[in-house]
Symmetry: C2
Subunit: 328 residues, 2 copies
């Protein structure tokens, strides 16, 4: 498989490193960060490019843009891993559209385009006979999309519940374990690299809500939008609330939940028994699918991380290689 | 897809009922229990056959054997769900061989043939250009084989750990929760339908060991045999041992574990922290895969049950329909 990689932040670097290190049969023919790009249809020397990026801040020529790479490189699959913009989906949305029009498969970790334009993009992919895959957008390394697509194939999914934001889960775990205040736990999460400088999207529940939208559209194709989700964050929780919960053998977790039959679509801090399978520690994620035949299936794993996210992306690429027959 | 169903115990009935009820596009053209069989290449009336079976104990004509159905019916996939014989794999092994030689896909819940003859059967399937699928043999409804095959594709699996026997897990859960003796908890498990009249295979750890052998062969193709597994059961555990564990915020679970690099291959009762993701309650199963990129991924779900097992079997059949290209 020939691939073009757009985005060289933590995820992009992880993908490039894993391709170079594990040699899964993927050749990078194009690469771009926000300021430069590089095309080499015979295969880019990944180690050299990563070294250049580290020392200079650029992965290639500033005269070559991401759009140039997408338009001109020779590749089968576009790996789109630029940062999420939840309001516009750009510039990723434009990148993905351009590649789909060139009949290139898409593998992305970018929540923006999938949450905002799933219907349009999946129709465009279908029309052009290519795959649109986005395993990395929800639950990091957890193969939730594969599970929905193949693992539980034949089942009707009745409900989905999940701990979809590792930052919140870390903060809640630490508040419960050590009696920290929200502010103390957030500061610790920042120091550990689990929270960004501006944690608003995480702690207000918006990141979890975006992931819930992606899950709902994938499962039910029901045109769910971010505005449809009732969202409450964790930023107003007190140590007292957690202490009270713990005294009753319970704890508090930020749960994202969708049950179409009950018109439930919400993200909120919930009181939950400590032995419940969604009670996971630290920055983990967990997702429970409630189905008609398999009943409840829960998946737990790392919700973020450079190499963990690369696992989902490389899995998507290899899935396309192994299974995709072009239906033009 | 046309399918022949061999075995009409709890699993077979579940499969037949789900095919009749959910209409996933599977037509049964042959059916057999241990005493009778029926062939109807235009499609068997499942409701009528199940009613006949319930009232008479036979699903068809006593002059027609399972082998007759396998040899003469017109089908794409053999659904082999007769009871497991861990010593010989028979009669399932013969059924599967016969169907493979007819170039029919195999979907089975039968641990015997897969644990005993994985190498032979997978080679025979490959040679005949058909699929050999056995999702239902390990973890019931948990899509562990799909996860290994596609979900974590590209990952190296370093270790596998699991709670693979629901009977043992139920007994240990009840001993810990209520201070029951092993005998009391076993009796309760029998009353709840979680333990068989002869629970030897379960409580001695043999059932879990067979499943571990299947996992090891699937992941590493390393010719693991049941004799290679160090097996200790739960039948000698005392309430005192569990009480001691619980005092230290731990509990005891029967863990099956394979780590080839450390030459570890064992099933044994293990002391384990209560907040560990393998500590699940009741008759659930759980499996953790340790991988190089995704790190630890845990799957939790129902390890048994008529409809839950049917979920795995129907998922396998639909996977063959959607993905399998014949490589003769």
């Amino acid at each position: 498989m020939k691939a073009a990689l757009i985005g060289l932040g933590s995820v992009g670097r992880g993908v490039a490193e894993m391709i170079a290190q594990k040699k899964p049969g993927i050749t990078l023919t194009g690469i771009a960060d926000s300021k430069s790009g590089r095309i080499c249809n015979e295969g880019i020397d990944i180690a050299a490019v990563l070294e250049t990026k580290r020392t200079s801040g650029f992965c290639g020529d500033t005269a070559i843009s991401a759009h140039d790479v997408i338009t001109n490189a020779d590749y089968d699959v576009l790996i789109e891993v630029t940062p999420t913009n939840a309001l516009t989906g750009e510039p990723a949305l434009g990148y993905i559209r351009a590649a789909l029009l060139r009949k290139k498969h898409i593998v992305t970790s970018n929540k923006g385009p999938i949450a905002l334009a799933y219907k349009e993009l999946s129709a465009l992919a279908k029309k052009n006979g290519v795959a649109l895959r986005y395993e990395a957008t929800v639950g990091g390394a957890i193969p939730i999309m594969h599970t929905l697509e193949d693992g539980l194939c034949g089942n009707e999914i009745v409900a989905v519940r999940g701990v979809l934001n590792g930052t919140c889960n870390y903060i809640l775990t630490r508040m419960a374990a050590e009696g920290l205040t929200y502010e103390q736990a957030l500061m610790e999460a920042r120091e550990m690299g689990y929270a960004e400088a501006d944690p608003t999207y995480d702690v207000k529940g918006i990141d979890a809500a975006i992931k819930l939208v992606i899950l709902a559209n994938t499962i039910w194709g029901n045109g769910t939008k971010l505005d449809d989700v009732d969202v409450t964050g964790i930023d107003l929780l007190t140590p007292d609330a957690l202490r009270l919960a713990e005294n009753g053998d319970c704890t508090i977790r930020l749960i994202a939940e969708a049950i179409p039959a009950k018109k439930i679509l919400r993200v909120s801090p919930r009181l939950i028994a400590k032995d419940h399978s969604l009670v996971i520690e630290g920055s983990l994620n967990a997702i429970t699918l409630e189905t008609d035949m398999a009943k409840e299936i829960t998946l737990i794993g790392k919700g973020a991380g450079s190499v963990e996210t690369a696992s989902a992306i490389i899995g998507d690429i290899l899935y396309i290689r192994d299974h995709y027959d072009r239906r033009a």
